[in-house]
Symmetry: C2
Subunit: 117 residues, 2 copies
Amino acid sequence: MKRQIYDCQAGCPVESTLQIISGKWKSVILYHLLQDEVCHFGSLQRDLGHCSRRMLALQLKELEQDKIITKTVFAANPPKTEYRLTAWGQTLAPVIQAMAQWGENYNQRQKHMNRVE
Amino acid sequence: MKRQIYDCQAGCPVESTLQIISGKWKSVILYHLLQDEVCHFGSLQRDLGHCSRRMLALQLKELEQDKIITKTVFAANPPKTEYRLTAWGQTLAPVIQAMAQWGENYNQRQKHMNRVE
DNA sequence: CAGCATCCTCTTTGATACTG
DNA sequence: CAGTATCAAAGAGGATGCTG
């Protein structure tokens, strides 16, 4: 796997953060994990809509490798998997929440602009 | 150009934000613009280090199209270009600052872990 | 259900050369 | 200096089939 995208040696803190959360779906996954605490593979896939099974699995694996989330497998039939944030992963809450808040503003603004045009 | 990456119709606020700032270098560019207020093409390129001229130009253009930054050209010789945040772009400050803060924590943590190992 | 492996396609990105 | 144009290489991501 690749994974080293940014030159974090340079010390730019934003690049360091991006190194962890810049995957296409990672922030969205974290957003749902902050809201629900526990998520299953299937529920995440429903929530994300446009994210394929393959992509979702990849993003989850990277988050797990980076110790942002944990995965617990229940080997039943059908099997079930639980994902949740680690304590360390929870420190990302301010970042994700800031993103969510800005996005809400943005959505409002867009709605308003459509009315005006 | 492509540009529509996420299904923002679904209403997920995090996806809306990503739609604007998820370009590989956008957050980093915004970070420097928040610190310096005015940046030139060359200074940004120095700050970003690993970002090619081509990439930098692309990212700046997209940010400009999304009305996050403005570009002012001084047709001197040598020419000079100034980039700065729009008022709307400045509303991204909390997001970028949260990212910067988390990244600083992360860098500290990494330094500490290296000592321990 | 929750994934991994494979194949295949479309993008993204870096290198390079050129311009006002 | 601040870009743009072009080309080739690398990577991202979808579709599908297989597994426990």
